[in-house]
Amino acid sequence: MTALGKLLKTTAFRLTLVYLAVFALFAAFLLGYFALNTRRLITEQITSTIDAEILGLAEQYNQGGIRRLVYVIEVRARRPGSSLYIVTTATGEGLAGNVAALAPGILDKPGWLETPYRRLEEAPGNEHNALARVSQLPGGFRLLVGRDLDERERLFEIVATAGRWSVAIVVVLGIAGGVFVSRRVLNRIDAMTHTTEKIMAGDLSGRLPVRGSGDEIDRLALNLNAMLERIEALMHGLREVSDNVAHDLKTPLTRLRNRCEEALRTAKSDADYRGALEATISESEDLIRTFNALLMIARAESGEARDYMTEFDAAEIVQDVSELYEPLAEDKGLTLRVDAHPAPVHANREMVSQALANLLDNAIKYAAAGKPREDGGRPEIVLSAQSKDNRVMLAVGDGGPGIPAADRLRVIERFVRLEQSRSEPGSGLGLSLVSAVAQLHGGELRLEDNAPGLKAVIDLPRAVPTGAT
């Protein structure tokens, strides 16, 4: 499409045209109305002047007879100006006046008329229009008094010219303005289109230009940019996940494969084969577990699980989960202490339970390795639930080695496992899942220093705010 074609197709330009048409019509109407009214006004003025003059002349006639009338008219007719006069006898013989050519028979009909005329002193062919009134005087004399209409026509002409010019100027300025505005809009839209094309081509880092004027296009661009930001983050997350999946699923798969190959190569007895197969199965179970955790994180992050939220007391969950893990903790020489206050919350019960179970599982795994308490008692893990200011906090605190402050954000990422924990079984997804669950509910997972040890807090709003991600 040519630049002009594009310009003509813009909404701004089309709107300009519509406005222009409306405005020009309005101006024409206004000027026309004005011109017609002026013309009417002038006509009225002329007629009333003529009426008054005829009245005056009739008076002169009544007082001084035809002589006086002829005298008065001759005086008046000599005055320069736009008035015209004729007095004739009943047979049409001119007695006085300043009009040369008149259409024949005009003087026979008394009343108003518009007629072309020529003044006596003017050369033939120099005709004007006049508005005149013919009246019959007693005695059969006829009197015509008229006024030249040139003035009226000239005024009308002036107004009409002004009207034509102003409409022309309005149209020219309007189109120029329309082109200017459309080009500005078009330039910005073109810049946006250009960026979107780049983004569609795969460069997600592109952003729409924002001029900072806060107008509607800026607002649109800001919103679209925020959307792009989110898409880029999601794409980045996806890429990261697939990289991680590739790494963390391929590693155990390689182990699995190696084990099978080794069994094929070296196994001598049925027992050897059985051992290799059993190890293979258990390895594949770990894989499935990792896979499930990944799926669950994805599910939590997609927000679908929000459809399955119910109202319950988080303190119950703390009780239930601690009860599930209590024998295990005891086996490991730990004390589980529950400090649960009623904390009603609207959430996905299963997911919050699993998140808490993950935290507790971690705590048990690492707390046992912590230093014994100074008073010689068993290391303690504290599970708590409390409600404060419309927020519900579920916490698991242990006295284990904790996590260095610098690593606390990093461990929440998928598959991140600190050096110290590599020897423990686990997928490196536990905390990612907890964090995803917290975010699903519009909350967050916080890792704090329990001095000594780690305190993991799931901080949730009492009910999921709408629009949380």
Binding site: Y308, L324, M351, Q354
Partner: protein, 226 residues
């Protein structure tokens, strides 16, 4: 036991038919939803194993059709979709149990056997008995021989579930689902610890152990004399 497997993956289905055959069950196979529905409508099967994603007619629709037609054969839903909400959808459609792929055969077998028993056995007895172990569901009393055993509420429910399915293998996931109502997989095997606690209460000091570990599958309450 006669089973019907409605599953479009030929390998997976044949593996199941063969494995179930090895433990003495007869299984038929249907490769799509329509065939499966037609076979299941005979009502001659003890348990139906239905995959969720099937050609022609999906698994949930097969179940729905069966249930509206008054066929109450227990259904085990198999699915690659293993999240809680998928499970809820499956059970709401009329399934009796839900097993996510990939599964261990022992898990499937245990669940199928429990489902088949649900159909024939008297469902709600008030007194469970295994050997000289008695559990009274109304008074919450447990005794072995003449000796009263005191259990925590959760231990009671655990034993209750095991005894309800006495003689059948009960897997760890089944326990987690039915006793604790959790559908996720705790990373550490917490169930084993609960079982060993229960075992120390009901078996310790008695010559005949009743609570057995079934290797690679789960647990079973069984009167050793039988």
């Amino acid at each position: 036991m006669r089973l019907l497997i409605i599953e479009d993956d030929r390998d997976a289905a044949e593996y199941l038919v063969k494995a179930l055959g090895e433990v003495g069950h007869v299984a038929d196979r249907a490769g799509d939803g329509d065939d499966g529905l037609a076979l299941a409508q005979d009502g001659a099967y003890d348990v139906l194993i239905i995959d969720r994603m099937l050609p022609k007619r999906d698994g949930l629709s097969v179940i729905h059709e069966l249930r509206t037609g008054g066929i109450t054969t227990p259904v085990l839903i198999l699915s690659a979709l293993g999240q809680v909400d998928d499970r809820v959808k499956g059970l709401r459609a009329g399934g009796d149990d839900y097993l996510a792929k990939p599964y261990a055969f022992a898990e499937l077998l245990a669940r199928v056997e429990v489902l088949s028993r649900r159909r024939v056995g008297p469902s709600e007895e008030t007194l469970y008995r295994a050997g000289d172990l008695e559990l009274d569901r109304l008074s919450h009393r447990v005794a072995r021989g003449k000796q009263e055993i005191s259990l925590q509420p959760r231990e009671f429910r655990l034993l209750e579930y095991l005894m309800k399915h006495a003689g059948q293998v009960v897997t760890r996931t089944m326990l987690l689902e039915n006793v604790w109502d959790y559908h996720f997989d705790p990373q550490t095997n917490v169930i084993d610890v609960h079982i060993s606690r229960l075992r120390s209460k009901i078996d310790k000091g008695f010559p005949q152990p009743l609570l057995h570990t079934v290797r690679g599958a789960g647990y079973m309450i069984r009167d050793g004399a039988r």
